[in-house]
Every structure is written in C-alpha cells, then in structure tokens.
C-alpha cells in the first residue's frame, strides 16, 4: 500500500523536476538523485546487472533526467513512472550499445502520445494511487505475471516455460491484467 504521505512526496518530486528544467537547480537535482538513484540501481541489480554496471547505468539514467527534465509533463506520468521509462530505455540501449550509440528518449516510439491518453486531468499523485489500487485488485495469477515481467526480466515466453504454463494461458492472463490497468485510466463516471 502507498501511504497517505505519498501525494505530498510526489508533488515535491514534480517541483524538483520543474526546478531542474527551468533553473538547472542542482540542489533539486541532488534531492531527485537521493530519492531515485538508489531505486534505479536496485531495479538494475534486480534485472541481473552487477554492481559496477548498475552504478554506471544509474549515473547514465540520472544524467538523462537532468537533460530531459524540460520534456517531463506531470499530466502524462508521475516522476517515478517517467524515470522508470528512462531507466528501461537506457538499459535496452546499453544491452545493444555497440550497435546503437544512444537512444533518444524523445523518439516518438518512447513517448506517450498526449492526445492518446484519455484523461489528462489526473495529477501524478492520483495516477499513482489509482494504479496501486488497481494492482492490488488484480487476481494473484495476473499480478504474478506482471511481477515476473517487471521484477525478474522474464518475457511472456520465458514465463510460460518457467511456470510450465501453456503460452496461451500466459497471454490471456497478461491481457486481462492490462485490460484491468486500462480501466483505471478511464475518466471518472
């Protein structure tokens, strides 16, 4: 569960990103670093990076946060969602680094289409709380699929193999989970 203090913390992070974007505010960056760097590193370690790799890639992610702060829009994503996407993309980039010099996170393939998001009025804090609620409402078997995908770097094919489930079962569970997550972004009734 996310605690009640979460929204205020999210607002502070949003303000720090804005301060980095507008004023190149290093103190704000240091606060973002304090919150996110240990989390990004933990995420990368979880996906199998060694200490050195995780540290280097975390530095790369945080530098990207500094550079791309002007592109951040709190209406589109919470700070943690935005930084997760950066970390995910930088990791993909690193895995094929010798082929790809860099991956531009402003590539349209990597940014949400503002108009395609049905509800732009939700602030980041409400987004996060709705998501937490939606995740907890997922049936255990669907939540397990997402956990394996995000926390253990398993593709849906890997999940089917390791759990000895038919591929079709894994696909349908993931589709149900995504359908559930979609509903939380529907406008309020």
């Amino acid at each position: 569960m996310l605690s009640d203090s979460q929204p205020a913390a999210i607002d502070a992070l949003v303000r720090d990103i804005a301060a980095v974007a507008r004023f190149q505010d290093r103190a704000a960056f240091a606060r973002l670093f304090g919150h996110f760097a240990p989390r990004v590193k933990a995420y990368l370690l979880r996906l199998g990076a060694d200490q050195g790799q995780a540290e280097d890639l975390m530095q790369d992610v945080m530098l990207t946060v500094w550079r791309k702060a002007p592109a951040y829009d709190a209406k589109l994503a919470s700070p943690s969602t935005w930084i997760f996407a950066i970390a995910r993309n930088r990791r993909i980039d690193a895995l094929r680094r010798d082929r790809r010099q860099r991956l531009d996170i402003e590539d349209p393939g990597l940014l949400p289409e503002p108009d395609a998001l049905p509800d732009r009025t939700l602030d980041a804090g409400r987004w996060e709380r709705r998501l937490a609620a939606a995740l907890e409402e997922l049936p255990a078997e669907q939540a397990q699929m997402l956990r394996l995908a995000y926390y253990e770097d398993r593709s849906h094919g890997d999940i089917a193999q390791s759990l000895r489930l038919p591929l079709g079962t894994v696909k349908s569970r993931l589709r149900l989970a995504v359908a559930k997550l979609r509903t939380m972004f529907e406008p309020d009734q």
Binding site: W66, E128, V170
Partner: protein
Amino acid sequence: MMNLPRPIADEWLVDFAAGSAPEPVAVLVESHLSMCPDGRATVARLDAVGGALLERIEPAALSTGALERALAALDTPQPAAPRARVGAIGSPIPAALLPYTGPDFGALAWKPVVKGVDEVILPTRGPATHRMSLLRVAGGRAIPAHTHYGDELLLVLEGAFEDGRGHYARGDVCAADETVSHSPRADRAHDCVCLAVTTGPIRLTGGWSRLLNPLLRLARR
C-alpha cells in the same frame, strides 16, 4: 495515405514496457510503436507499473561519491540527436531499426528465398532461438504456406499484405504462432517489406524459415 496501425497484442507491449523483451522483439515493438499512437498509450500506462515498482523497491546502497560524480557529469556536452532518415520508397525507417539496416534497404545484401521473396538476416544478440530479418515480397507474390514453432511477428514497413486472416499495412503487426498456418501475399501495387522476428525453442529451429531452408539452398545453386 497514412495507416493508423492496430497495436500489437498486449503481451508484447508488456515485454517491451517491462524491459524483458529480447533484443529482436524490442526492436520490432519499438519500431511498431513509432508508428502506432494507441500502442504508445498502452505502454505509457504500463510504465506506471514500473513507476510503482521503483517506489516500492528496497533502495540499493550507492558507491561512495556517487552524487558528486553525478553532479560533475551535469556539464558534459549532450550528444546530438539522430536525424530522421528516409527509406527506399520514401517511408521513414523507424529509429530503432535504422542501426540494423542502415538508411537504404536497397543497398542491403538481399538473398532470394523463393521466387518473389528476398530476405536479409539482421544479426542480434538475442537468444539463439530468436531470429530477425527483413523480408521483401514482390507485389502480388506470396510467402509459401507455413506454420510456426513459437511466435512469428511481421511488421509491415513498406507496402501491404494479406494472409486470409487480415490485411496489414505500414505499422501493422501480423502475429502468428503454432496454431496458425498462413501464406502472406503482398498487395499487387507495391513490393512489401516487413521486419520479421521469429521466436521459439531452438530444437524446433524456429518459424517458417525451417520450411524454406531447403528452397533457399535450391535458389542459391
């Protein structure tokens, strides 16, 4: 005329969003997303799952001086962003694919597979079970009927094709697995170029290429 592609199935978007997609799948999905706003919207939602993960994860200890190193790096100059390129018949090549193909499909070392069908294998560091290639099917020609071991994803880059189950234009993905037998046929008007990714255990030697391999050897003779 712009095609507004239908998004690839959710399980592939989850693989991409979670970062668990092997290299060839990530390249195909990212290329697809660059042409598919609806798919991008779903990935944006799935990114929130990753955001929740970051908020809940047990933070890791950083090396000493990590913040100082980060602050010192802030002033390093930013590399220039890549420019959009244009493909052989004027269709932009997705940025994710460009490093694998270069800017001109026509300059690639195409190998004939069967009459009217050429292929270029694009090496990746994905699992040995995965295979990525560009397929070029001449207008009106078809890939011989085949079934699959594991998954086959065909992303249309130029032209269009139909396979009896649907019609696929630029940005669309045709997904098939072992339950599907099909014979994709290019529309008459244009050659059709697709990015193909096949997955599956190596013991099954992956996808329709297995059936075409004997023909490929014949064609090269």
